[in-house]
């Protein structure tokens, strides 16, 4: 499926979605509240069938956090990037996609550890890399660490 057809199908699922085609993959912008039902449709619709979540990460844009999901369909060979905006930077929350793609478990643990995004309905949310009592979230832009020697 090419980008135009993908756009049509996605607009049917979520009319409020906006698109950006400048990059290698087409990006779909949604808000964090709409994430879970939208993702379920992407995974389950036969013509879309995004069954392979090959990268899940987060970007700290200072005023908001952006969750980035790279999706691929092994059967249809098309890719898409879903970006969900989290406006609350103090106490960010988003639904977990573990029920849809199992790889999300460790990825979301990592994002929770490094960005402090809380995933709702995650089976085992814990700090994956840093010790439990580590202060702050290292990959945030406002992270300060006295021991860190900056160049």
């Amino acid at each position: 499926m090419n980008n135009e057809e993908l756009k049509n199908s996605i607009t049917q699922i979520l009319p409020s979605a906006t698109f950006d085609e400048s990059g290698e993959f087409m990006s779909v912008f949604i808000s964090s509240e709409e994430l879970l039902p939208f993702m379920k449709e992407l995974r389950n619709r036969d013509e879309l069938f995004f069954d392979y979540l090959f990268c899940e990460t987060c970007v700290d844009w200072k005023d908001h956090l952006m969750m980035v999901y790279f999706l691929n369909s092994k059967t249809h060979k098309h890719n898409i990037v879903v970006k969900a905006k989290i406006t609350d930077t103090i106490n960010p929350k988003i639904e977990s996609v573990y029920d849809i793609w199992k790889t999300a478990e460790l990825n979301e643990d990592e994002i929770f550890d490094l960005f402090g995004v809380t995933f709702l309905n995650h089976p085992n949310l814990r700090r994956l890399f840093m010790p439990e009592d580590w202060p702050g979230f290292p990959l945030r832009k406002n992270y300060v660490d006295d021991n860190m020697i900056e160049l």
Binding site: P138, M148, E150
Partner: protein, 176 residues
Amino acid sequence: MGLKDKLEFPGQVHETPDGSFIVSQLDNLINWARANSMWPLAFGTSCCAIEMMHTVNAKYDWSRFGFEVMRATPRQSDLIIVSGTITMKMAPVLKRLYDQMPEPRYVIAMGACTISGGPFFYNTYSVVKGIDHILPVDVFVPGCPPRPEALLHSMMALQEKIKNEPYFRKAKEEAK
């Protein structure tokens, strides 16, 4: 003033600075045994561990020097080759491993990361900048990663160090 001038008559039993004859000979024996039978702990964290494995293999073959018995448990090993970066989370584990080893125990810091943090010195929040903050290190081996020859050299340097170590003499001094 030489030692000879101190003697009142020939054949007088005297204390040499290195202890008596038997004790220093035993020292030599023990040090020889220790130096030639260092069993390293099978411990590696990252890239340097691969070069350590290369040192085991046939081209470099550290079994020639008697280092070949790699024990998986710290209780049976004499030497810990810290090969690879040590992070803040790993540091307590490393310390614990070191504490579990029976005396005498030796530490080789292999690679730039263990010496100072190496490539991971600046802008990093989780790397220990040099394992000498945690353990007493006997030999440092620079390199990223060091060549197997460098590791062999460091182990031979450690052998030299052990051969000059007092065992009985130290105990005597502590008793004083």
